[in-house]
């Protein structure tokens, strides 16, 4: 049954809208307008400065599906996701459990692990680039051997994964600690009465009850990993022979849209990536019922 709004409710609604207007306007201008613009551009042969775009239908996508570079860079993005995500989740989960106990200097440790989140990604990348330097870098100096961290095609991706994992465990750890603190202690007590030990409880109580948080971390993690751009861009030099093995699809987009001034094709590449991420998200949402427990 629909009721007419009272004067008071209407005033409230108007004020409510007024207060969120800055955000709405920001979203419209900064997010939604560009999304539609990108869709449109992906169907165009774009002119300089957005002048003189000509509609060419699906031509950009036809080129895209025959472009080996697209699939190679997409493969690199996936490789990064597959290598970094399990590590990130596993390490932050272990850290979260360890730092959720009563222990000395707990705050200090939590801060240390969270600190990378506070640093600007570009600054983080610059410092790691210096540490990875094969001739004068801190890492090789400490190891006493010469590892070509960012120039050996077999190792470069691992170097990028190390930095990626290092900089994201802090945030995930804090989220998981939050999740852990929501689990009532009684469950563990009841289980221990029935003879469950620490490890057994971890897999049968902690993991299932933490699954909503894990699901959230995995989902945002996949999206973030597939959109990786800044780390390889900042850490690697393009004259490195390892560059083709870490060049990601978002970098390919950047190359076409901004360096080669081919916005149309760049837009098509990014639409393709959006489609893939949407599909993955859809599949994840479907799988949610199978393993995520909300109570």
């Amino acid at each position: 049954m629909k009721k007419r709004m009272s004067v008071r409710a209407r005033t409230e609604a108007i004020w409510g809208l007024a207060f969120i207007a800055p955000t709405i306007i920001g979203l419209l201008i900064l997010n939604y307008y560009p999304i539609f613009e990108t869709v449109w551009q992906s169907l165009c042969k774009t002119g300089d400065f957005g002048i003189g775009n000509t509609f060419i239908g699906l031509e950009n996508f036809r080129t895209l599906f025959h472009d080996k570079e697209v699939f190679r860079t997409l493969f690199n993005s996936f490789r990064y996701a597959v290598l970094s995500l399990p590590l990130t989740v596993a390490i932050s989960l272990v850290l979260a459990v360890l730092l959720n106990r009563k222990m000395k200097m707990r705050g200090v440790y939590r801060t240390i692990f969270f600190l990378p989140m506070v640093c600007a990604p570009a600054a983080v990348a610059m410092v790691w680039k210096w540490m990875f330097n094969q001739d004068y870098g801190l890492l090789n100096h400490m190891l006493g051997r010469k590892v070509n961290w960012v120039t050996d095609p077999a190792i470069a991706m691992i170097a990028i994964v190390i930095v990626g994992v290092w900089s994201s465990i802090g945030n995930n750890m804090i989220l998981l600690i939050g999740g852990l603190q929501d689990i009532p202690k009684d469950y563990y007590e009841a289980a221990s009465v029935d003879g469950s030990t620490g490890v057994h409880s971890f897999f049968h109580i902690t993991i299932p009850l933490l699954s909503p948080m894990l699901f959230f971390i995995i989902q945002t993690g996949i999206m973030g990993a597939l959109q990786l751009f800044d780390l390889p861009f900042m850490i690697m030099d393009q004259s490195s022979r390892a560059w083709p093995s870490v060049k990601t699809i978002t970098y390919l987009f950047y190359e076409y849209a901004f360096e080669k001034s081919n916005r149309g094709y760049g837009a098509a590449i990014i639409m393709f990536l959006i489609a893939i991420i949407s599909l993955l998200t859809f599949l994840l949402q479907k799988s949610e019922k199978k393993w995520v427990h909300y109570d």
Binding site: T38, F229, S239
Partner: protein
Amino acid sequence: MKKRILAGVMAAVMVATMVACGSSGGGSAESAGGGNDGSGGKTITVAIWDPNQLEGLQKIADEWGAANGCTVEFTVPGWDGYWTMLEAGVSGGEMPDVFWMHSNNAAKYMGSGVLLNMDSYIEKDETIDLNNYFEGITELYTYDGAHYAIPKDHDTIAVIYNKAIFDKYGVEHPTADWTWEKFAEIAQQISDKGAADGVYGTYCNTGSNQDTWYNIIYSYGGEVISEDKKASGYDNPATIEAMKFVAEKILPACPSPDSMASTGGDTMFLSGLVGMICQGSWTVNNFYTADNASDFEWVMMPYADVNGNGQADADERCSIYNGLGWSIYSQTEHPDEAWSLVSYLSSKESQIKQSELGVTMAGYIGCSEPFAKAFGDMDVSAFVDIEEQGRLVFRPYSKSTSIWEDDASQALVPVWSNPSLMEETLKEIAAQMNKTLAEE
């Protein structure tokens, strides 16, 4: 990712707007000062990307401002920020009145009507005769027969070496009378003797085109692009010979490709790990201000004795040159004043002054002599002398330079690790480049 770029663009728009607001405000405040030719009190905004040049240019521009009762305001957003600012400025309509143009982007800006067609102004103005400027630069800023920028400067290449390293290993200092063979030989000597200390003779990466291997190609009589800009020169036999020389003689004297991909050439040179490198005149200040600047010495580019007569003929000693241009926004509110400023900056007197102040060498032919002495104890005459004693070749370009130049650097990466691939790779580069050129 997209959001971040967008934020960057928005920030640039905001900066551009603020600059524009600031300038109109400044204009009204200055109007009390009055002018003597009716244009008084206006503020002309100028955008450049190189902070090293700001001081000298501001000085010259202020002279013009004082004579014409105008204020000149410079914005210096740095190379990347510069192009983002202009890009956003074109769409948003907020542009500086006068700004630099560069060979990478000139075709795009000239073809979109962003730049003021200067033909009618050039005709009326007695200070400007385009024959006085370097031909390659004038040509670069010509589109469909119309001129869109006046040459501001030109830059050349020279070799800088570290005397301390040469003396330590007992290698004789280079003199202007040297061939590329000699260059490679000296470099190899340093690499051999310095192996234990991790010191190398020279540095040449896949991206060191303008400062190193383009010069070698042209000295050997090769070319990167044909004169009519329709065909690649990478499959030219002389080009192949020159690049094979790079692969077989220069690269062995360089740090390993992996090291070069990790540490830049200037950094290694400044840290005393490399004996000599080829560098452009736009970088002089970098070396001039270094702690051990007194160890550094500039020497003219080597020549390639192609005809084997044992001496340097002008054709055999090449330096790539490039030059910026002063251009004006086509929709500017003050086209006459903007032109007057550009004309003043491009006049013979200002061009000489620009050299004297050590800003850059001149775009006006024969005005660069003072640049040689602009850096105190550091003699940079090697950049100026090659104008007389060698051949200046304009940096190879076409409408799609950014595409084929990048493709070539990328394709050369495997060759740097395996020099025997040079010839076949060059042929592949040529084929790819011809395809790009055909699509222009």
